[in-house]
C-alpha cells in the first residue's frame, strides 16, 4: 500500500506540475532568480577566497645571507626555520640562482644588465624565502630571526638583512583587509540566501493558495493528510529541480562573460574555469538547494490548509 501510494503521489505531482503550467512556470522562474543569487554568492565567495589566497601567497620574508657564509650553516638555519610551527615553507635561493633570477627579471633593461656585467663579481647574496601558514604569523618569525629566541643564537651573524620591517605595514594592512573581506563575504552570503528563501517560500505559498479549495475538497472526500500533501511536495521538488537545472545552464554564459571582465582587473582566477572544474559541486549545491527549498516551502504552505480544526 505504501508503495502504491508513493507511486500515486509522485504521478499526481508530475501531472499537477504539467497541468498548472502557468503557475509552475512562474514559480520556476522566481526560483531560478533565487537560486542564481545563492549560486552567485557561492561563486563570488570562491572567487574572493582564491584571490585572497593568491595575495596571501605573495606575502613572504626574505632573509639575506651574509656573503661568505658556508652552505652548511645556511642549511642549518633553514632546517631550524622549518622546525617552527608557524612556517609553511622555506625556499633556499643560492647566490647563482639569485643572479639568474635578477637577470631574467631585468632582461629587457640593458642598462642594469650592463652595470651588472661591469661589476663582474656576483653582487647578490643568497636568500632564504620564508612563507608562513597565516599572514599574522610573520611577526613571530621575524622576532625569532632577530635573535630573541635561543634557538637561533649564533645564527644571527650569518643574516645580513631581513626585509620584514620594510613589509610590515603592507603585511598588517593586508591581513586586516583579508579578515574584513572574509567577514563581509559571509554576511552578504547569509543575507542573500535569506532573501532567496523568503522569495521562494512566498511564491510556492502563492501557488498553493490557488489550490486551497482543492485541498479542502480532498479532505472532504476522505483524503488523509499525507496523501493530500504528497503531490504538493513532489511539485515543490520539481520546481526546485527544474529551476536548478535552468540556473546551471544560465551560469555557463555568465561565467564565460565574467571571465573576460575579471581577468581584466585581476589576473589570478578564471571564473569559467572554476565553474567548469567544480561543476559537480556547484550542480549538487544548486539543484539540492532548489529541491529542498521547494519541498520545505510546499510542506509549510500546505500545512496551513490541512490544519483546519
Amino acid at each position: 500500500m505504501l508503495w502504491v501510494n508513493t507511486k500515486r503521489i509522485i504521478k499526481a505531482g508530475f501531472i499537477n506540475f504539467w497541468r498548472n503550467g502557468s503557475v509552475s512556470l512562474s514559480a520556476v522562474f522566481v526560483m531560478v532568480v533565487a537560486l542564481f543569487m545563492i549560486g552567485s554568492t557561492f561563486l563570488l565567495t570562491a572567487f574572493l577566497g582564491t584571490a585572497l589566497k593568491d595575495l596571501e601567497n605573495k606575502i613572504d620574508i626574505n632573509i639575506y645571507i651574509a656573503v661568505g657564509t658556508k652552505e652548511s650553516e645556511i642549511m642549518d638555519l633553514k632546517q631550524r626555520l622549518e622546525g617552527l610551527p608557524e612556517v609553511e615553507t622555506v625556499l633556499y635561493v643560492t647566490r647563482e640562482q639569485a643572479l639568474e633570477n635578477f637577470r631574467e627579471l631585468h632582461k629587457d633593461d640593458h642598462r642594469i644588465i650592463q652595470a651588472l656585467d661591469e661589476v663582474g663579481d656576483n653582487p647578490l647574496t643568497a636568500i632564504l624565502n620564508v612563507k608562513a601558514e597565516e599572514p599574522s604569523q610573520y611577526e613571530g618569525i621575524s622576532n625569532f630571526l632577530q635573535g630573541k629566541s635561543a634557538l637561533v643564537s649564533g645564527a644571527s651573524s650569518i643574516i645580513s638583512k631581513v626585509n620584514y620591517n620594510d613589509n610590515k605595514i603592507a603585511i598588517d594592512r593586508l591581513s586586516r583587509l583579508i579578515e574584513g573581506v572574509k567577514k563581509l563575504g559571509s554576511i552578504i552570503t547569509a543575507l542573500l540566501i535569506g532573501i532567496s528563501v523568503l522569495i521562494t517560500f512566498n511564491t510556492v505559498r502563492l501557488a498553493i493558495f490557488i489550490a486551497r479549495d482543492e485541498i479542502s475538497v480532498m479532505r472532504l472526500v476522505g483524503g488523509g493528510n499525507h496523501y493530500i500533501r504528497g503531490p504538493f511536495l513532489v511539485e515543490g521538488v520539481i520546481y526546485g529541480l527544474v529551476a536548478g537545472l535552468l540556473t546551471m545552464i544560465l551560469f555557463y554564459p555568465v561565467t564565460y562573460w565574467l571571465k573576460n571582465v575579471t581577468q581584466g582587473f585581476y589576473g589570478g582566477i578564471d571564473l569559467l574555469q572554476y565553474f567548469v572544474a567544480n561543476f559537480v559541486d556547484i550542480f549538487l549545491i544548486t539543484v539540492l538547494t532548489g529541491m529542498v527549498l521547494g519541498a520545505v516551502s510546499s510542506y509549510l504552505a500546505v500545512r496551513k490548509y490541512l490544519s483546519v480544526h
Binding site: N5, V217, L220, V221, G222, G223
Partner: protein
C-alpha cells in the same frame, strides 16, 4: 444511525446558527431538510462532517460522537459519507475519471478496483462518453453527476446532498433527484437539503423544516411548509 442531541452552535462572531436541535435519522431513510437561507441547514451538515464542532450537545454517527473522533481518524469517517455540493466542488485539474478515482485512491483501493469501478459508476450517471473531460468542459448537470459518482463510488453508508440542484435547470434537477432516489432504493441513507418546493413534494419522503436554527416541523411524508 445519525443522532443530533440538543445541538447548539454559536459561531465566534456571536451568530447563533443552531439552537437546541434534536432529531435522528435511521439507516436507509431519505430525509429532506428545508428552510430559508440562514436557517442552519449548512451548519447541520458541517457538524455531521466534522468541519465544525457543536457549542453544546452532541452529534453521533453510528453511535460514535463525531466531536471525539481524532483528526487522524477523520478521513476514515469521511470515506463512509459521500458529499454532494451545490457548487459541485470537483478538482479542476483532474478529469471526470480522475475526480472519481481520487476518492478511491484516498480510500486506499487498488489500481484494479479503480480501473473497474470508476467506469462503471460513471456509466450509472450516464457520463461514459465524457469520462476524460475536465470539469471546465462539462455542463452544470454533468458536473453534478460527476460529483454524485464520486460520492457513491466507495459505497458510503450515507449520502449528504447540500442543495445539489441549486444551480441546475428543472430537467437536470429532475435527473439528479432520480439518481438520489435510486441510491436510496439500494439502501443508502440520503440527507438532502433544498429550497426547491417541487423536489420535496415530488419525493413524498420525510421532511425536517428548520427556521432560525430550530427544527419547527418534522413530518413523515412531509410537504414544503414555508
Amino acid at each position: 444511525m445519525i443522532y443530533f442531541d440538543n445541538v447548539s452552535k454559536v459561531y465566534p462572531d456571536g451568530t447563533s446558527a443552531l439552537d437546541g436541535v434534536t432529531f435522528s435519522v435511521d439507516q436507509g431513510e431519505f430525509i429532506s431538510i428545508v428552510g430559508h437561507s440562514g436557517a442552519g441547514k449548512t451548519t447541520l451538515i458541517k457538524l455531521l462532517l466534522g468541519e465544525e464542532h457543536p457549542t453544546s450537545g452532541s452529534v453521533s454517527f453510528d453511535s460514535v460522537d463525531i466531536q471525539k473522533v481524532r483528526a487522524k481518524d477523520m478521513p476514515t469517517l469521511r470515506r463512509r459519507i459521500g458529499v454532494i455540493f451545490q457548487n459541485f466542488r470537483l478538482l479542476p485539474t483532474k478529469t471526470a475519471y480522475e475526480n472519481v478515482a481520487f476518492a478511491m485512491e484516498a480510500a486506499g483501493k487498488t489500481d484494479e478496483e479503480i480501473a473497474s469501478d470508476v467506469p462503471h459508476v460513471l456509466e450509472l450517471v450516464d457520463l461514459s462518453k465524457k469520462m476524460w473531460n475536465f470539469p471546465r468542459q462539462l455542463s452544470g448537470g454533468e458536473l453534478q453527476r460527476v460529483a454524485i459518482a464520486r460520492a457513491i463510488v466507495n459505497h458510503p453508508d450515507l449520502i449528504i446532498a447540500d442543495e445539489p440542484t441549486g444551480n441546475l435547470d428543472p430537467v437536470n434537477t429532475y435527473e439528479i433527484i432520480q439518481i438520489l432516489k435510486k441510491i436510496n432504493d439500494i439502501g443508502t441513507t440520503v440527507i438532502l437539503t433544498t429550497h426547491n418546493k417541487g423536489v420535496v413534494e415530488a419525493l413524498g419522503k420525510r421532511v425536517i423544516t428548520m427556521d432560525h436554527g430550530k427544527v419547527v416541523r418534522d413530518d413523515a411524508t412531509g410537504k414544503y411548509a414555508l
